[in-house]
Symmetry: C2
Subunit: 359 residues, 2 copies
């Protein structure tokens, strides 16, 4: 496959490819860092969105307290790259092979913390950690309405926190929730804080997260840190959620029109194996930057089908179009490299170093 070179004009990149508009990304990193700092919280960016150590280093340089990873493999890549000495893994680590890798990693940086939401996981962490000289910090994950992982009540959180403090090798380091989801998150934490206070159990960290929650940081005065990933690139979901504008969308997928079978249809060379079929509450599969009235109406694996019926402007075969994807985090995970672009020139070719690390 033809490889891109740095310093070439973006117009010379063959398609499909993923470009990152560097000015926009740098603005995003700075703007959200200021927003979270001004709210009195620490920012702990989630690397799942970019999976690129160099971008993690920029987030740290901008003032982030550390990074968030979702997989052990991601943490390994970022620790190898040496971009931060403080990582939180927000996933239950299960089984002796994985907990062994976790403990090995924890000895390589100043602070590696992890979440747990049940006793089996907590005891597994303790078994791996005990006898290793230092305590593994564990945040208890709470489900405040999202319906994913997490203890269901403040009482269950307290039980697990007490267990963490009793078990060897681990220590209770706080509570984590994803995403902040008012009013339930607020109510959950208000009750939990009272319960822990009555029990004489301090909560070192209250970690919240989620990009839409950037709108309402002030509503969570008890939260001490905020985890967010998508803000670094932004995407259609972020714009439709009201936390970014189209001018904040730093990831553009470039694709070529390969067919115009009818007056109202164009077909591009980017399909579900590039953009993925993530829709959630959205009607289309991405937004055409220069054809806002056109609809990316369907995807096959390698074809994107554009409905031009509402668009007076109609791209011709051979034309390259730019697309803001619905969900940038999954698009990063599809490609082996992305191209950092400034003023129309490819400034950087970044391998997506933590792509595809399943475990």
């Amino acid at each position: 496959m033809e490889k891109a070179q740095s310093r070439q004009p973006v117009t010379e990149l063959d398609t499909p490819c993923v470009t990152i508009l560097l000015d926009l990304m740098e603005n995003n990193i700075g703007r959200v860092q200021r927003l979270v700092s001004q709210s009195g919280k620490a920012l702990r960016p989630h690397i799942k969105t970019h999976k690129i150590p160099a971008i993690g280093a920029m987030q740290i340089a901008a003032g982030a307290i550390g990074l968030t990873c979702q997989k052990l493999g991601e943490a390994e890549i970022f620790i190898d790259a040496g971009v931060t000495d403080d990582i939180l893994i927000t996933f239950n680590i299960v089984g002796p092979r994985k907990t062994g890798r976790l403990i090995d990693l924890s000895e390589r940086i100043r602070r590696l913390a992890v979440v747990a939401d049940n006793e089996v996981v907590l005891r597994g962490l303790s078994d791996a950690a005990k006898g290793h000289g230092r305590q593994l910090p564990v945040l208890i994950e709470c489900d405040t309405g999202f319906g994913r992982n997490g203890v269901q009540t403040p009482e269950a959180a307290l039980d697990l926190a007490r267990l963490a403090d009793r078990l060897p090798g681990v220590e209770f380091a706080g509570l984590a929730v994803y995403p902040n989801n008012a009013p339930r998150t607020l109510d959950f934490f208000t009750r939990t804080l009272s319960l822990f206070e009555a029990a004489g159990m301090p909560i070192p960290t209250l970690s919240g997260g989620g990009s839409p929650a950037l709108k309402s940081l002030a509503d969570y005065p008890m939260m001490t840190e905020h985890r967010v990933g998508t803000y670094v690139y932004n995407d259609v979901m972020m714009v439709e959620s009201g936390v970014a504008t189209w001018d904040d969308c730093a990831m553009h997928v470039r694709a070529t029109v390969v067919s115009r079978p009818t007056e109202d249809r164009a077909v591009i060379d980017a399909g579900s194996k590039m953009l993925t079929r993530e829709q959630y509450f959205l009607k289309d599969f991405g937004r055409l930057v220069d054809y806002p009235d056109a609809r990316l109406a369907n995807l096959s694996e390698e074809h994107g089908i554009i409905d031009l019926s509402a668009s007076a402007a109609k791209p011709e075969v051979g034309e390259v179009v730019s697309i803001v994807p619905n969900h940038c985090c999954v698009v990063s995970n599809m490609v082996d490299e992305v191209y950092g672009v400034r003023d129309g020139i490819v400034e950087t070719v970044w391998p997506v170093a933590a792509r595809g690390l399943m475990r």
Copy 2:
């Protein structure tokens, strides 16, 4: 990341991972080859599903006439591997860099054919091919109702076929459609055959495709070859389309239960970055092999959320579950390797060699 070894029990594979049940896959390859052969057509399997040269070699050994690729990069990998001397690329190849690669490839095997559905693409192929000593075979792609690429009328097909025969470096090699879609495909081809016959223009190949169309091969007596990919592994869509049973599903994603936040909810370590959010007409995101009454009801990027409310059996934290994905072709594209399993033992570790080749 921990790598799997061959000869280890499948139960020792860390999760999440993709396993291929070899007995089932070999049955699929043999059964569909016989089905297509008995219909009097040639089978040209599409490698998009597996992206693994060794599996392409099995399909050829079973009697396939050649292979289908969707991307130039895929064809490059399969030609490098030497598994066939006959490849059809079913995608409009646009731009001088790509057409140049195509012509380079065409000189490395006995027959490399390609589709085109418009004059710009056809002239681009001719420009790259002329002066290279042999004619590039071009099939005219026809849209018979799918609403993707393809000429819209038999008359447009004839015009392009005649242009192919006039232009240097290329030759008209037949017609291609995807998918067979009765009754429109049948009607389109009936009218096209009359038109071409009246024009004195023979049609060397009539290439159809699509896995659901395996049910109705006899309805297309004029088709000379059939292209199909998904049959090699099968998936929920194939079963729900009535062309496979659960016992034909050779791809199983293995995932570990990492949380049981409530009595009726389990969370596994495989999410949209493994299974993808492909639903089409389906309600769930995959089928749990051993918990058929459980519903894989939602996916985050790294979490799968299982609704156990209708399932009397409920997996515990730490248990490994097997999942048939909704769409196996996109799951192959998420992972760097898959594990070929027979009788519970990992017999082969296959790199997904053509994964992520975007161009």
